[in-house]
């Protein structure tokens, strides 16, 4: 499988690759294959009844649905933030730019308790949201809010470099030929950033589907209502229902791999279309 394509003077190919494959197998591939091995010990009808139980379906709906809504909201605001950072100057821009990665660097448990404290009924933001009739903690809304926090850097960081690379001369040429700012945005800038928006969305979505630490504090954890899929896995494990936990986990893993493959395909399609234009 791993064959060198051409001769080289650089040494250590077999040692480096051998170690890489060995370590990858021991730490990632063999442990992960346990999901398939364990699931194969139960019959398909057992598997099906676990993953289509109302409680499981509700958990999937919350985990996938909230991840989708949060990533969708982040597309717009993430793009706006990337735009502002790439094109405008304002005081404190460097600090703002550095803080974009904060949700990525902050441990999820810390994010979880901080967001919950902000959004409960007596919280700094929750007190206003509750007055407006928005139940911002222990609800679907709370889960979406936490996932917005987690997903934001993924979109900003994939779109920002692409916005910076767009050639100013093309925009100047379009403007000198009479195009307005909106037309330039629609015809030049948007097609150029579309592939990166798709990548950013898929990265944020993939990361937030399985998110646990930042969500579990604010979610409410009511079975069938505000219980996320990862929590259901833990609950099954605590009841020593290993097959149940594994079946639920396997579906999550497969769905997120399929989604990643689909978005890769969409991104390939989008970048090819621009190439043809």
């Amino acid at each position: 499988m791993f064959l060198l394509k051409q001769k080289t003077t650089i040494p250590g190919f077999h040692l480096a690759l051998g170690y890489t494959v060995l370590y990858l197998s021991l730490i990632v591939l063999i442990p992960l294959s346990m999901l398939f091995i364990k699931t194969s010990t139960i019959s398909f009808s057992q598997f099906w009844s676990i993953v289509t139980a109302p409680r499981t379906l509700a958990a999937y709906r919350l985990s996938f649905g909230a991840a989708f809504i949060a990533s969708f909201i982040n597309i717009f605001f993430g793009f706006l933030i990337a735009w502002v950072l790439a094109r405008y100057n304002f005081p404190g821009k460097k600090i703002v730019d550095a803080l974009i990665d904060f949700p990525f660097a902050l441990p999820t448990a810390v994010a979880g308790i901080a967001l919950t404290t902000l959004y409960t009924q007596n919280g700094l933001l929750g007190q206003y949201l509750y007055k407006l009739g928005i139940q911002s903690a222990y609800s679907w809304t709370g889960v979406v809010l936490a996932l917005i926090f987690i997903g934001l850097p993924f979109i900003v960081r994939t779109v920002e470099p692409v916005l910076q690379e767009i050639d100013a001369e093309i925009e100047d040429a379009a403007a000198s030929l009479g195009a307005g700012r909106f037309q330039i945005f629609r015809r030049i800038i948007f097609p150029a950033v579309l592939p990166s928006l798709i990548t950013g969305f898929s990265l944020a979505f993939a990361r937030t589907i399985g998110e646990y630490g930042s969500v579990v504090f604010i979610a409410g954890n009511m079975p069938g209502k505000t219980e996320i899929a990862p929590l259901l896995i833990i609950t099954k494990l605590e009841q020593f229902d290993y097959s149940g936990a594994t079946a639920i986990a396997l579906v999550m893993l497969i769905v997120s791999f399929i989604l990643l493959a689909l978005t890769n395909l969409a991104q390939w399609w989008a970048s090819r279309r621009i190439g043809l234009n």
Binding site: A16, P107, G213
Partner: protein
């Protein structure tokens, strides 16, 4: 003839305004609330709650875990990026995809797979019990789950850096008679040190902050198998909010420190990259 090179000042200012409001709501306020709650009962209370026996035990376990997980993933990261950046071989894209797999696995699933391997009902469970070894609900499983979760962190930072350096300098050193190891130590390593540093810092931040995977395998025994993030959860669920946020502030400091290193590395890189570009022109 003049034409618009950018948006009108009103549009520009309102876009900046919306972006900043969004960032204040979703990034600045969570950061603020960590320190505000940690210090709400005064600085004395803050340090007292950090000096709690269980919290100190949790800090110790967290540091030990990172001290084992980070070096292992560092060695792997160097080996993987050497193989991937310096050589052209079939199957490279598959290898790259597989290295990234732990990033798209839910942390809870990352813990679950080690329970399936080493738990009482797991494949090696009965054998381990016969020999009196404990992996699940003990530090070994915490360390293993942490290694899994932070597995690609160093490799992901190093691969692009090593690729951008090319093979020319190594080939020159080898032609002049340097051994492979010598070439690596004196030619490659100085070139990748900043990327390496950032990869290690990022890997360390994730290792010390991992929650979901560790939560599944730890067993939550106070003073014995709790890492700092698990200790934060216990304090929070005990309604001991000030102590929970005091412990959380340590991890928030770690996150801020990571961001500072990242900015420094990017600044360094930008200077180096610009120099490379100038030389080419």
């Amino acid at each position: 003839m003049s034409y618009a090179r950018t948006e009108s000042p009103i549009v520009r200012r309102s876009l900046i305004g919306i972006a900043l409001i969004y960032l204040v709501l979703f990034i600045f306020l969570p950061l603020f609330i960590v320190f505000a709650t940690a210090l709400q009962k005064g600085i004395g209370y803050y340090f007292n709650s950090l000096a709690d026996v269980d919290t100190i035990a949790a800090i110790k376990l967290t540091v030990i875990t990172a001290l084992i997980a980070v070096p292992l993933n560092l060695v792997f990261g160097v080996a993987a990026s050497w193989a991937i950046a310096k050589f052209d071989f079939r199957g490279k894209n598959i290898l790259l995809t597989l290295i990234d797999v732990p990033l798209s696995v839910s942390p809870v699933i990352s813990g679950l797979i080690f329970v399936l391997l080493f738990g009482l009902q797991g494949i090696f469970g009965p054998w381990l019990r016969e020999h009196g070894w404990r992996i699940i609900f003990a530090p070994p499983a915490i360390i293993l789950a942490t290694i899994f979760v932070t597995f690609p962190m160093v490799a992901r930072e190093l691969i692009p850096v090593m690729k951008s350096q090319g093979n020319d300098e190594e080939e020159a050193a080898l032609t002049l008679g340097a051994s492979g190891w010598k070439t690596f130590w004196y030619v490659t390593l100085p070139n990748i040190k900043w990327g390496l540093l950032y990869g290690v810092i990022l890997c360390n931040a994730r290792a010390m902050g991992e929650f979901g995977a560790v939560s599944v395998v730890s067993g939550h025994i106070r003073g014995l198998t709790n890492t700092l993030p698990l200790q934060i959860e216990i304090l929070y669920n005990d309604y001991n909010f000030t102590a929970a946020f005091a412990a959380a502030s340590l991890l928030a400091f770690l996150a801020l420190f990571t961001l500072v290193i990242k900015s420094l590395v990017e600044y360094r890189f930008r200077a180096e990259l610009n120099a490379v570009r100038k030389n080419k022109i």
